[in-house]
């Protein structure tokens, strides 16, 4: 079984439409029924799947990290772990003469575990959030989750969410929008990175910075322009200077009467929206061209 093709949709400016495009493309791929598809939503604050698609819950579980726990019987109070902890989570209570671990400060980096020579620090699972696996159609799965711990566990959370097993052909990932460590982690290890840009929100300095960070992490982005009626010459010249290809341009989709909940793909579009349909078919052809199945 070949590894699934990882296609990531990322919007550098939150609200550029990466969520809608990914869900639309997910529905497009599902409708073709060639292969099974999964959608991973890395937005741990605002998961979208259950509000955009009519899905039913198939499986759920906890996202855990291994937190250290101190075994006082074996501790000889050498204080090595307290020195090793960069976050001052391990302290020695002078009056009671034993070591305490402050779980609010602990970031589960395992520096103390690596340091202790007396086997006095063990591991225990600590919950940082939940993941949920939804079924949409026979061949379509949706993975999402919510983080319920400090934000510094977000990276670990996204890592584990993206590692949830799926053995199909396409793995669509909605990256955490904006530029942050969470965004970089959700882009990590992708085959095709699609950056959704709204010309109205283009700013040369910001996008230069984004591109530098993406290149530093060995990503080559492809661009989709959303709401492309607004012509921004600055953006066009920037794309040309940086050798970025525009995969598709999508005119603005005006939704009469707002978006209905649980809308299905053809239904959530106004009739005859050719732009989106053409975008998806060209995107599909591009994906097929880039990732040819061996044999």
């Amino acid at each position: 079984m070949p590894e699934p093709v990882n296609i990531t949709f990322y919007s550098p400016v939150p609200g550029s439409g990466a969520n809608f495009l990914s869900v639309g493309f997910f529905q497009y791929l599902t409708r073709r029924q060639d292969h099974s598809v999964a959608l991973y939503d890395c937005d741990y604050q605002y998961p979208l799947a259950d509000s955009l698609l009519k899905v039913w819950l198939k499986e759920e579980g906890k996202v855990t990290v291994r937190l250290p726990v101190i075994n006082r019987n074996q501790c000889i109070l050498c204080k090595a772990c307290a020195r090793a902890c960069a976050f001052h989570a391990i302290r020695i209570e002078p009056a009671i003469s034993y070591i305490t671990l402050d779980e609010e400060r602990c970031r589960a980096c395992h520096a103390c575990l690596n340091t202790c020579r007396y086997d006095a620090i063990r591991e225990k699972p600590g919950e940082i959030g939940q993941w949920r696996k939804y079924q949409w159609k026979e061949n379509a799965l949706v993975f999402e989750g919510t983080l319920q711990a400090e934000e510094f566990f977000a990276i670990r959370f996204i890592q584990q969410l993206k590692a949830l097993p799926f053995s199909g052909r396409y793995k669509l990932v909605v990256a955490y929008s904006g530029m942050s460590y969470s965004a970089l982690e959700s882009i990590h290890n992708t085959d095709i990175l699609i950056v959704v840009i709204d010309p109205a929100f283009f700013d040369t300095r910001y996008f230069d910075w984004i591109l530098r960070l993406l290149k530093k992490n060995d990503h080559h982005p492809y661009v989709i322009l959303n709401r492309c009626e607004v012509v921004n010459n600055e953006l066009i010249s920037w794309l040309f200077n940086n050798n970025l290809d525009i995969l598709a341009e999508i005119p603005e989709v005006r939704l009469p009467g707002g978006m209905e909940q649980n809308a299905e793909y053809p239904a959530f579009l106004p009739d005859g929206h050719i732009g989106l349909e053409a975008c998806f078919s060209s995107l599909y052809q591009f994906v097929e061209k880039v990732t040819i199945i061996p044999g």
Binding site: Q45, Y46, S180, Y181, L184, A200, F202, V230
Partner: protein
């Protein structure tokens, strides 16, 4: 000095356009962009020269590739998978690192290390309307709150030095430590909402967030009239939270054109209905502040 924060749950609710309009109405004011992701504010206002100020409290990573013996001990040690190995070289994924120092302690040749310099900084730009403060750097999620505090401290200093009366704050996205940090101790919180499928959910969490910082929020309905069902829903939601809709801004095409041209709506289309409603919101809000703090 009065501090006015504007928040909205997810994006595309028109918060940035509204803030730019407020900024031009306020006159003597400082604008702080606490949203560490991109916002329209920077695009509209941050076009001038930018002064960058380094912040000392962050650590960077250094790695001496020449002395590395490729023993790969660090790969096993790092529980965060921040160190990877491909094409015969050590790769460091900064965004996964929690700077715990395990790798440094275990590296037999001591080629891994931390250094104090890093590229985390504050940016200050002088716009025609007043100074704009923002940060365009990546930092660990755990340190974002600290960065926002530094931004707000700096802005408060600006207000004091130049004797400016108003500090406008662009709140950060979501409900987390950094968005709480942006709202601590402000005088007024405005919640902007506009028709979308998440809007109600977001409105509830935003009301909770502002009540968490001890302030009854003002709710502004943007793009009113686009979806009348939604308008009714927001009203019902406000009523059940013992609030009322403070202002309504009608749908206006010029918002996007104003954004592209880099001006506020109040300047671009002063005669439009939306501009009039923004002006009325601003004046009524000022009245309510002066009632509380004469």
């Amino acid at each position: 000095m009065r501090e006015i924060a504007v928040i909205s749950g997810r994006n595309t609710s028109g918060k940035d356009s509204l803030l730019v309009s407020f900024f031009s109405l306020a006159g003597q004011s400082v604008l702080v962009d606490c949203s560490l992701e991109f916002s329209g504010l920077r695009k509209v206002l941050g076009t001038g020269s930018v002064k960058v100020k380094q912040l000392p409290f962050f650590r960077g990573f250094s790695f001496d590739a020449d002395r590395c013996s490729h023993c790969r001990k660090c790969l096993d040690i790092c529980y965060q998978h921040a160190i990877g190995y491909d094409h015969d070289r050590i790769r460091y994924y900064e965004y996964r690192c929690s700077h715990c120092g395990s790798c440094i302690r275990w590296c037999p040749l001591m080629v891994l290390g931390f250094e104090n310099q890093s590229d985390i900084s504050l940016s200050i730009t002088e716009t025609p309307l007043g100074p704009l403060l923002f940060s365009q750097s990546l930092c660990e999620p755990g340190l974002q709150g600290e960065l926002i505090r530094a931004l707000r401290d700096k802005a408060a200093g600006f207000c004091k030095d130049r004797k400016l009366g108003t500090l406008l704050i662009n709140g950060s996205r979501g409900v987390n430590a950094s968005s709480c940090c942006a709202l601590v101790g402000v005088d007024v919180i405005l919640i902007v909402t506009s028709p979308s499928i998440w809007a109600e959910e977001d409105l509830v969490s935003d009301i909770r967030l502002s009540r968490h910082s001890g302030i009854e929020p003002f709710i502004i309905l943007n793009k009113a009239g686009m979806d009348t069902d939604f308008d009714d829903k927001v009203e019902a939601l406000c009523e059940s939270n013992r609030l009322s809709v403070f202002g309504r801004i009608p749908v206006e095409e010029s918002f996007r054109h104003a954004l592209i041209r880099g001006t506020s709506l109040v300047e671009y289309a002063p005669g439009s209905e939306a501009a009039a409603s923004i002006r009325s919101i601003w004046h009524r809000m000022n009245d309510s502040i002066s009632q509380v703090r004469p």
